[in-house]
Symmetry: C2
Subunit: 345 residues, 2 copies
């Protein structure tokens, strides 16, 4: 395998096995908190809200929050539970709205709200979730949480608008792609880590470093997410491969493929992204492999994870910095094993 | 005309002529503020945001804010300008989302965002406007503004979800209708008046009274708005008459009509609201007139305006209470003259 040299990850300071065990009580409290919050909605919409809260999602942002401010003992900080609820609810609201825009019927093996109850309800339910998250954010003693959360929310939406405007444009360049994923994904990761560390009372230098770690990890995560649209097992990921090709969304793998293909094929890929040709997903998936683009994308993700870790270097040895490092290791490993899954598509 | 006895409005304490002149400098500062805020969005979406801000709307909620805290002098309070920007931006965001749900092509004689740029952009642009409003709300020294605004936002969305769930149900009763319009409209009116008075530093009793005034006026305004879907001149109102009949939305006039019609026609109206018959809008408009329902609805609005005014009675003589009274007079007069417009449909 051509990427064998990349599997050695620097800064691996914690065994992965203990990670989920440490997270478990925090995530259990988050789930209990989110379910209790359902009752604060009007009765008729509680089932809808509960459906959105129980996504079976990975709770990545909450995990970052809990570990950003981890002091190493066994207690769960209720401030961090509330912050995790704020950030996760915003994330879930964006998913409800995303599914309208993508006309998606299925997310995580369940029908989407838009599919079940129509676009109108999905628009409004997302709005209600946003509003509720903001309300929770205003319940902190200082306005720093609600201010940063509001800015992040606006940036997430702006990133998504830019992406929507760019759909069907086959000429997106790398800085443009990078700017969009920074707004739509990395912002919320940054705020999660920054505010997690802040609310845990950590020193300003670490708070800033944790925020910077979150931003890099968010970029890495989004590139990984874009890669899994093209590489991996459909059953495992729970979604159809190649939807970005079919809907004209030029992600990093497709941008690189476009720039690596011979002129004739590159022109055909442009026409495909512009919606002027049949998607022929399998053909482009084969090209991704044969041109080495998958390895190139994986290296881009590894590079971003390395940058994330570099921000934490001065703080290694503290339980929070070590655990954030371990989360980044988890992503590293997922990227590392993605290739072999991909062979089975 | 059967409603001649209702044209005498109690508590008319201010001439209407001076109202707009007093408001003008406040609304001019609001417009300037909103336009300046456009620049804080990412460059590519500024044109979209500007389009949403320039609706040519009536700025009812800002007017309530400015007058709720009016001390009678000529200065414009920048705190109230910022609050007006928060509340109006939330309102504009809900309109952008409403137009997706209603599949509306035109609002105030201009194409809607959803029509111009598609549903995806409209969903996200509404979200970005919401987020920006929340960010502005967090810029006040205390969290009272952002907390109340977040709750109001959630209630507005909830009211709209309930309304969406009820579409096509011909058996909606009056308390259900009332609850929905309280959530979707009266909440934001209440918060506008409450926070306007609060930020102007007025005494707690008046702040509460102003909030209660806002809630009653919001109910009155929404009933009026629902009436204008059925009565009035299409060109003047700038929208197609009878869309609520056609889309199965049981508003007060249609609920009352259903309960006043002879059994056979009532059954036909139920079938129409349930989407099982052609809308036949003109036929129902004629019935509204002949059954006296229009007068009944007008009286319901007048009653709500009277309740709004009663909350302010202890404070009459103060410039703010007097001006809020005058705003309610404006609505009263619009309702009062609606009948004669209606004759021309």
């Amino acid at each position: 395998m051509s990427h064998a040299s990349q599997t050695t990850s620097p800064g691996e300071t914690q065994p992965l096995s203990g990670l989920f065990q440490l997270l478990e009580p925090h995530l259990a409290q988050l789930d209990a908190f989110l379910l209790a919050e359902v009752n604060s909605f009007e009765e008729e919409i509680q089932d809808y809200v509960r459906y959105c809260m129980n996504t079976g999602g990975k709770r990545i942002r909450p995990s970052l929050i809990f570990f950003s401010g981890w002091n190493g003992d066994e207690t769960v900080d209720p401030k961090l539970v509330k912050l995790a609820a704020v950030i996760e609810t915003i994330h879930l609201a964006t998913l409800v709205h995303d599914d309208i825009m993508d006309e998606a019927d299925i997310r995580r093996s369940r029908p989407t709200v838009a599919k079940l109850h129509g676009n109108a309800t999905a628009v409004l339910l997302g709005d209600a979730l946003f509003s509720h998250a903001v309300f929770l954010a205003t319940q902190f003693p200082t306005s720093e949480v609600s201010e940063k959360v509001a800015i992040a929310m606006r940036n997430v939406c702006t990133g998504e608008i830019l992406q929507t405007m760019q759909r069907g444009d086959p000429d997106i360049d790398l800085p443009t792609y990078r700017r969009v994923i920074d707004l739509k994904t990395a912002e919320l990761f940054q705020v999660a880590c920054f505010l997690g560390a802040r609310l845990a009372g950590r020193e300003p230098e670490y708070v800033e470093a944790a925020g910077a770690f979150g931003r890099h990890l968010g970029i890495a995560y989004q590139i990984y997410d874009d890669l899994t649209d093209l590489v991996g097992s459909e059953e495992k990921i729970g979604k159809t491969l190649g939807t970005d090709i079919a809907t004209g969304k030029a992600t990093l793998p497709l941008i690189l493929l476009r720039d690596r293909l011979p002129p004739e094929e590159a022109a055909q890929l442009r026409e495909t992204l512009a919606g002027k040709r049949d998607a022929q997903v399998d053909r482009w998936l084969d090209f991704l492999d044969s041109t080495g683009v998958i390895d190139e994308v994986r290296e881009a993700i590894f590079q971003e994870i390395r940058s994330a870790r570099a921000t934490l270097e001065p703080f290694l040895g503290n339980p929070d910095a070590d655990l954030l490092n371990t989360i980044s290791q988890l992503l590293w490993n997922q990227v590392d094993t993605l290739q072999s899954d991909g062979a089975s598509h």
